[in-house]
């Protein structure tokens, strides 16, 4: 077969030339999406670069739509889409304060598919923030950062990596925000970096480091640009690889451990061969998950085609939805950045608005004395939150039976607290995004904001 990617066209009923009779001899150097045997299925994983990070077999339960909602795959698909849509934008965008704005105007108006590309990039970026957050919520509510029955499991560390990946996602989105060099960009970054400046003692220096000076100008733009296109995606890619690797080291998704626990006392039938039952990369000589779980054939399926099919469906579905949304949601481009005119209200990006809201609410005026909330709302609170998120796997004392189970009884209290926290953040985000109008006054949805003046 000269074209391996066409091999799925082959009918499984056809006799292939060169099928080996001897075990251990590969029937052909290529692979198939429609394997006829476990061996062919394993070959597809082993001989394909793109698939080699997957295990040959996965537990059926971990593929269920209802367990994970495939949010991690969705995040990865969005990251892929962001790289794909960002690459052509790299050729079109000019990171200079004189030309950035006009290069975006050109992308919007005259570049073929330019407006759509930019919208795909923007919609995917916002969607990635949402999906990554939902992924974190899913992992928390299923107790998936907990270790089950496998040896050498370090799921708590994968959770920590995940938290950093979320932070990188937010930073990626935030650095991209500045690039169009319009009023929206300039003032969102002003708000963001001023919050950093509120850290006691080192705040002003941190801000200076972030923006490359004391005012947001060309040095800021080039810093954010390089962070956005090289440093942060590189870091996220590296963490992504590590995240994936840890999943394999930990014996798959946490729900696999639940299955293993359920099957523990059942007697496993004799297994004829274990050639392809590599659930994880072995640590020393012991398989990662106990043989009882692995050997029950009805709980395990081949990664090719079952895992790959769904991963492809999720990826293609994500791309289709983002692409359709991008044709309806035009990306905004406000007036060119103007340090002399502050838009009223000046807002941070939406995913930081709950923080901006807290900054406002913790700013207390007593007579002429003002306690600035930027430090509390902008530094202390998110700092505490991230610290708690990172430490939570060690604080959580629930039994290992709660691993990979939605809303386990033993974790009822912490799940409730977590959901309340999420609702709190959602509410503040809503207030900050929709209800805050000029002078940061509250406007109900039925109230009309004052008219924004124009030149003529």
């Amino acid at each position: 077969m000269a074209f391996p990617f066409l091999s799925f066209l082959k009918r499984s009923g056809l006799k292939r030339s060169g099928d080996p009779e001897a075990p251990g001899v590969h029937p052909q150097p290529f692979w198939s999406f429609r394997p006829r045997s476990d061996r062919e299925s394993g070959d597809a994983i082993v001989s394909n670069f793109a698939l080699h990070m997957f295990p040959a077999k996965v537990s059926r339960a971990s593929l269920a739509w209802k367990y994970s909602f495939w949010l991690g795959t969705g995040s990865a698909a969005l990251f892929l889409l962001l790289i794909l849509s960002g690459a052509p934008l790299l050729f079109l965008y000019v990171p200079s304060v004189e030309r950035a704005y006009s290069s975006i105007k050109d992308i919007e108006f005259v570049v073929t598919f330019g407006s759509w590309l930019r919208s795909v990039h923007r919609v995917a970026a916002h969607a990635m923030v949402v999906v990554v957050c939902l992924h974190l919520v899913r992992v928390f509510l299923t107790g998936a950062y907990k270790n089950g029955v496998g040896q050498g499991q370090r799921r708590e560390w994968n959770w920590v990596i995940g938290v950093f990946m979320l932070l990188l996602t937010l930073l990626l989105s935030f650095t991209g925000y500045l690039l169009p060099w319009d009023q929206l960009a300039f003032w969102a970054v002003t708000v963001g970096t001023n919050i950093a400046a509120s850290i006691p003692f080192i705040g002003p220096q941190v801000r200076e480091l972030l923006i490359g000076g004391r005012a947001i100008d060309q040095p800021t733009l080039i810093r954010f640009y390089v962070l956005h296109i090289v440093v942060l995606p590189g870091a996220l890619g590296a963490l992504f690889a590590y995240h994936m690797w840890r999943i394999r080291k930990d014996g798959g998704l946490a729900v696999t451990d639940k299955e293993a626990l359920a099957n523990e006392r059942q007697e496993a039938p004799a297994v004829s061969t274990k050639t392809y039952t590599l659930l994880g990369i072995a640590r020393g000589t012991s398989p990662v998950v106990r043989a009882t779980a692995l050997s029950r054939l009805d709980t395990m399926v081949n990664a090719v085609p079952d895992l790959i099919r769904r991963a492809n469906l999720v990826t293609l579905g994500t791309i289709a939805i983002v692409s359709i949304l991008a044709t309806f949601i035009r990306s905004p481009l406000e007036e060119a950045a103007n340090p002399l005119v502050t838009p009223n209200p000046a807002k941070a990006p939406w995913y930081f608005l709950w923080l901006q809201e807290i900054v406002t609410d913790t700013t207390v005026k007593i007579g002429s004395f003002t306690i600035n909330g930027a430090f509390v709302g902008g530094v202390i609170l998110p700092g505490l939150l991230v610290t708690f998120l990172i430490l939570w796997p060690w604080i959580d004392r629930s039994p290992k039976e709660a691993t990979g189970v939605w809303f386990d009884r033993t974790r009822r209290g912490q799940n409730l607290a977590f959901i309340l926290l999420c609702l709190f953040i959602l509410t503040l985000t809503f207030v900050g995004t929709v209800m805050r109008g000029p002078y940061w006054n509250i406007y109900w949805p039925w109230e009309i904001w004052p008219e924004i003046p124009g030149r003529i």
């Binding site: 045997s37 005259v110 081949n302 003046p453 030149r455």
Partner: protein, 415 residues
């Protein structure tokens, strides 16, 4: 040969695959269509047809296709207006509907589009290729097309297309008169007649009571106070209302109400907004001095007044607002009352003697005498002496005039 472990295809995956497939097709159709569908394609086909009708197929073939633009690096402008407005230089479409109309050719001789572009005169968003964003008004683009439509929205008096003259004046700001810019010319005339420079610096010359207006056109729309303005909230509307009645918008202002007509207020608002520090290449500025010197006549008049009996009032600057007719001083603005009768007038207006009032002035004069014309007590004494002289002169002139009247019309007087 070993068999594959049985794993039946989950039933739900088929509809999911079907949905994803349909979504992918929809998305492809949508973005391809969105990118393709622009009104300029239709306008270009239509213009080709019009040219073919008039001049034949061969000529029609010379009409360019695809996106067109005029790129002016010196102003960082890419004006894509010519993508639809293709008739720009074609003869024979002078009466056609837009966008197929020939541009008036006279003005293009001195302002070739390949040098000036379109938006430097007409306004609008040159980057855009659809009428909506190109013409405006549209959110986030502060320079809409300065055409009749916008003029009608502002109920311009007489010439609805006059707004465009603002852009003429970006380059022609130092000219006394610019051909074709009647509203701006009228406004410039008013600036001199009303003595705006009494209080304001314009182009480097004038008083300091009011703000410097040289680059007032650069003031951002957000920086005006609209609290007392009804109707449109724009810089232009603000200026029109402010020229009509300054105190209605800024209660504490000392700017007098000149009772400008709507037309004059609109012209002045255009002039004010045209005073921008625009990055116009030097080559675009017409060959006039880059300042606004007084004319010979104005200089001669001032010189004559300076050396006359009222010279003191000219040198100190009182004459900017006040005439002292008895001493032959005529104010160009005549905002304040004639000072010939000040001795009597101050008493009747303020209930105070002239000496007392000058020592501690109130109202507008308090502002003027504290900020722009600062007089020492000795100078004030001189002023009082001069004003007494003027009053005496005034009385004398009145008496002689009365005498002349009596002798000229004895019959009428007896009746």
């Amino acid at each position: 040969m070993e068999k594959r472990t049985n794993s039946p295809y989950p039933r739900i995956d088929r509809p999911v695959l079907a949905i994803v497939g349909v979504l992918l097709v929809i998305s492809t159709v949508l973005f391809a269509r969105n990118d393709r569908e622009h009104e300029w394609r239709w306008y270009q086909t239509e213009f080709k047809r019009l040219v073919a009708e008039k001049y034949g197929q061969d000529k029609a073939k010379t009409v360019p296709s695809g996106l067109q633009q005029i790129w002016i690096p010196s102003m960082a402008k890419a004006d894509r207006c010519v993508t639809c407005h293709q008739a720009l230089g074609w003869k024979g479409f002078e009466t056609a509907d837009e966008p197929f109309r020939t541009h008036p050719q006279d003005i293009l001789k001195s302002h070739p589009p390949e040098t000036f572009g379109c938006t430097s005169c007409h306004g609008g968003q040159g980057w855009a290729i659809d009428a909506g964003p190109a013409h405006g008004p549209i959110e986030h683009w502060n320079e809409p097309l300065l055409g009749k439509q916008l003029g009608s929205e502002y109920s311009l008096v007489d010439d609805k297309a006059a707004l465009m003259q603002m852009n003429c004046n970006v380059c022609h700001r130092y000219e006394r008169e610019t051909k074709g810019a009647e509203a701006i010319n009228r406004a410039k005339q008013l600036v001199n007649e009303k003595g705006c420079r009494g209080c304001h610096v314009v182009n480097g010359r004038g008083g300091t009571i009011g703000p410097d207006l040289t680059y007032v056109g650069d003031k951002e729309a957000e920086q005006y106070e609209y609290g007392r303005l009804s109707g449109q909230k724009t810089s232009f509307a603000w200026h029109v209302a402010h020229f009509k009645d300054p105190r209605a918008l800024v209660t504490e202002t000392v700017m007098p109400n000149f009772n400008f007509s709507s037309k004059d207020a609109q012209s002045l608002a255009m002039l004010a907004l045209s005073w921008k520090k625009s990055p116009v290449p030097a080559a675009f500025i017409p060959g006039v001095p880059l300042s606004e010197p007084q004319t010979e006549q104005e200089k001669a008049d001032e010189e004559r007044m300076k050396t006359g009996p009222g010279g003191w009032f000219v040198k100190t600057g009182c004459f900017v607002c006040h005439s002292i007719s008895a001493l032959g001083v005529k104010s160009p603005a005549q905002i304040g009352p004639d000072l010939s009768t000040a001795v009597e007038d101050v008493q009747s207006r303020f209930g105070r003697t002239l000496d007392d009032f000058l020592r501690e002035p109130t109202g507008t004069m308090a502002v003027v005498l504290s900020r722009q014309i600062i007089l020492s007590p000795e100078e004030k004494a001189v002023a009082i002496g001069k004003l007494r002289e003027a009053y005496a002169e005034h009385e004398k002139q009145k008496a002689s005039a009365a005498k002349a009247d009596k002798s000229a019309a004895p019959v009428a007087a007896r009746h």
